[in-house]
């Protein structure tokens, strides 16, 4: 199965977005880690200052175990250190009993420090619990080296965590906006960049299936640009192609006229021969027209001579019938060819075996097929030495026909065989002599026929043309 490949206008913005996401993640990670570092450093410094100030004011009172003064200092410190937002501050004596706490209801004086509170206290001086949004501080107090107790504090760091969340949100929003903006810019830029290619691709695609059309002047980009040069080159190519096509048509026409010329010469000869007899018959009629038997014999001679002339002229006319008078190929067309080639056969004293087994007409345009068979037969005549033998055999009905032309020549050259057997012949070959076969090939392509080459029974070449058409009912079935 062929994998789906999105267009470049999608892949480039996606790539840009992907890169931006990666860059955004890396930058965000760095910003956040620096922010966290900075916050924790500031918090630690602020906490140190808080504990320093508090220690200095309560240390003398702690030594005396003065509950009120310690409480008073803790209570007042709440207002003094607004930036730190302490939640709970506890002064503990050397025996681990609470001297006073900022909230005495939770931690009554002279009671042991509650177990759950003690469990949260850090081993060091400072610990952060981001889940609870709390920081825990601890400061041992001593007097001249003698421990007098410790100061514990729980600080609300919710505002720091909120700040982190705000920064994360800002980073996400900013990065997302940048990513979308850059992806959009990438899409527009790529779309703009590939626009000339797209136009060119459309023209090339339509050229492949039909007639290549030059890019109109209105669609041409500004002169001097890459796209303009590309378009100009394409248009030049199309024009050159058209010239060659036109030339090919001219050559084909010339070839047709040339073969017609040869036929005409043969026909003149063919008409000229009976003319002498006809004039003799006329003279005989003038002199002996009174005799009934002579008259009838002479008129019979005249009629047969004129019928022969009429057949030759009719065959020539049919070969030059205008395109709009197209009709299906039938047994009579093959007979016309026999008449047309007759003079050439006789001129070269060839023996032509003729077998017309076509039973009815077939839905194939007669003009190109007649031209193809005629060309092949003329080539066979030319290839067969004088006095040689050649044969035409046709079988078929309304669905398929097969026409074989066998000569006694020395066989087709490789180049000629290639011209005949290569489908989609392309432009007319420049080599002389190949034009007739090229026209045969064009006819085959046009009519959907096939050609087979073999050795003839006369030692020359056997060319077999095969055509088949689907009847109307079969076409319907095929579509269904």
């Amino acid at each position: 199965m062929r994998r789906f490949r999105p267009p470049i206008t999608v892949t480039v913005p996606m790539l840009v977005a992907g890169l931006m996401v990666v860059v955004g993640l890396v930058v965000s990670e760095r910003v956040m880690s620096r922010l966290v570092e900075s916050q924790e450093r500031n918090l630690a410094q602020l906490s140190e200052a808080y504990l320093d100030g508090l220690s200095a004011s309560i240390q003398p009172h702690m030594m005396r175990g003065d509950i009120w003064e310690v409480f008073d200092a803790l209570d007042r410190s709440r207002d003094l250190y607004q930036g730190l937002q302490p939640i709970e501050t506890v002064a503990v004596d050397g025996n681990g009993l609470v001297i006073a706490a900022s909230d005495p209801r939770l931690m009554p004086s002279r009671a042991p420090l509650p177990e759950d509170f003690r469990a949260r206290l850090p081993d060091g001086a400072f610990a952060i619990d981001p889940d609870a949004g709390r920081a825990y501080l601890r400061r041992p107090l001593d007097y001249h080296g003698t421990p007098v107790g410790a100061l514990h504090a729980v600080v609300d760091i919710g505002y720091l965590l909120q700040e982190r969340r705000d920064v994360v949100t800002t980073l996400i929003v900013t990065n997302a906006a940048l990513t979308i903006a850059l992806a959009a810019i990438g899409y527009l830029a790529v779309r703009r960049m590939v626009q000339p290619t797209r136009v060119l691709t459309e023209h090339l695609t339509s050229g492949a299936t039909g007639r290549a059309e030059p890019i109109p002047e209105a669609k041409m980009p500004a002169p001097g640009s890459e796209a303009h040069r590309l378009y100009a080159a394409y248009n030049a190519l199309v024009l050159a192609e058209r010239e060659r096509e036109s030339l090919s048509r001219s050559l084909a026409e010339e070839e047709r006229l040339a073969s017609l010329g040869r036929l005409t010469a043969g026909m003149a000869h063919e008409i000229n021969n009976p003319l002498g007899g006809l004039f003799n018959a006329l003279a005989t009629l003038k002199r002996h027209g009174s005799s009934r038997s002579v008259r009838e014999t002479t008129l019979d001679l005249l009629e047969r001579g004129l019928v022969g002339i009429r057949d030759v002229v009719a065959a020539a006319l049919e070969s030059y019938r205008p395109k709009h008078a197209e009709r299906p190929f039938g047994p009579n067309d093959l007979e016309d060819i026999r008449v047309l080639v007759g003079p050439e056969v006789r001129r070269r004293r060839l023996a032509l075996d003729w077998s017309n087994g076509l039973r009815e007409s077939i839905a194939l345009s007669s003009a190109p097929l007649r031209q193809a068979v005629l060309n092949l037969l003329l080539n066979a005549c030319a290839a067969t030495p004088e006095g040689g033998r050649l044969a035409v055999s046709a079988v078929g009905d309304g669905r398929a026909i097969s026409i074989e032309i066998a000569d006694g020549g020395s066989g087709l050259s490789a180049e000629a065989a290639k011209v005949l057997t290569t489908a989609k012949a392309g432009l007319a070959p420049s080599a002389e002599g190949g034009l007739g076969l090229w026209m045969v090939r064009s006819a085959l392509d046009e009519l959907g026929g096939e050609v087979a080459l073999a050795r003839s029974c006369f030692g020359g070449t056997l060319v077999r043309l095969s055509f088949a058409v689907a009847l109307e009912a079969e076409r319907v079935d095929a579509v269904a």
Binding site: R64, D72, P108
Partner: protein, 294 residues
């Protein structure tokens, strides 16, 4: 922490302060102050000594009323002010009824504040607003806040109450602390630092108006009988009696002066009045009761 111990009864302190005062007095006599030296009025932490605006108004009024500079002298404890007063280092001082009866023989009354048209006040036992207690005996085993060891309403009244019950503060309460200020007693009880406290009723009533949130966190569990309001006293034998009288007269005339009335309004007082020393006999009886029990 300061705590009233059985070894330091009021009598002992009285003798100590008398000796201290005599020594300082001798010293003072050798360095007689110039007659135009500022009048010195001592203020105990009875109330509002942290209100700087009030102090400024009081000083301004007294200076104008006395016609000479007045210096307001403040100390952390009653004891310090009492010592300065009996040693004649102060011309007058706003002290408590308890120190007055202790040194009645060496002090004379200059004026007594009039609050709600009488020169009396009460002592309160307070507890946190939400505490379920019905009487003073429910406070047994409390951590209890006193104001000052030399305060009548903030210590003596509760001690006398317990003495009547045949016990002492040290036995009745788990522990007692001194906060050295009636407002601090209210703070300690409101914060839950102590389960109960002894406080000046006048102070609590005024704080109800000035700081209703703080006052709302405590509840009055028990009120004492009406007792003599903390007086303004002078040394009975001052180096210069006129100096004390100047201050006394100024206080007595305070309610006649607009600036004086402003000070009184802040203090929520009606004025000052002359009263005999007998006003404090109920307090003297309490001192005797406590001393007997001790």
């Amino acid at each position: 922490m300061r705590k009233t111990s059985p070894s330091l009864t009021p009598n002992v302190r009285r003798r100590f302060l008398a000796g201290l005062g005599a020594s300082v007095g001798l010293l003072a006599s050798r360095h007689a102050r110039a007659a135009d030296a500022p009048l010195r009025l001592g203020l105990t932490p009875v109330f509002l000594i942290n209100d700087l605006q009030l102090l400024s108004q009081l000083k301004s009024y007294l200076t104008r009323a006395c016609g000479r500079p007045v210096e307001l002298v403040m100390r952390r404890t009653y004891q310090e002010i009492t010592a300065l007063l009996v040693s004649q280092r102060l011309d007058a001082a706003w002290i408590c009824g308890f120190p007055y009866v202790q040194y009645e023989d060496r002090l004379r009354l200059l004026a007594v504040p009039v609050w709600r048209r009488q020169t009396l006040y009460q002592s309160y036992l307070i507890v946190p607003a939400g505490r379920r207690a019905e009487g003073p005996l429910d406070l047994k085993g409390d951590l209890h806040a006193f104001s000052d060891p030399d305060s009548n309403s903030g210590c003596l009244v509760t001690r006398a109450l317990l003495a009547e019950q045949g016990t002492t503060a040290e036995r009745f309460f788990r522990k007692t602390i001194f906060t050295y200020g009636h407002r601090n007693v209210i703070r300690a009880v409101a914060a839950g630092l102590t389960q109960s406290g002894s406080v000046d009723g006048y102070v609590l009533e005024v704080i109800r108006e000035a700081e209703p949130t703080l006052a709302g966190e405590v509840r009055v569990l028990w009120r004492s009988e009406w007792l003599g309001f903390p007086p303004i006293a002078a040394p009975r034998e001052p180096l210069s009696p006129e100096r004390s009288d100047l201050l006394g007269d100024a206080l007595l005339a305070m309610h006649d002066d607009p600036e004086g009335r402003q000070v009184l309004a802040t203090l929520r007082l009606d004025g000052f009045a002359s009263r005999p020393g007998s006003l404090y006999e109920p307090i003297a009886a309490k001192v005797a009761l406590v001393e007997r029990r001790a």
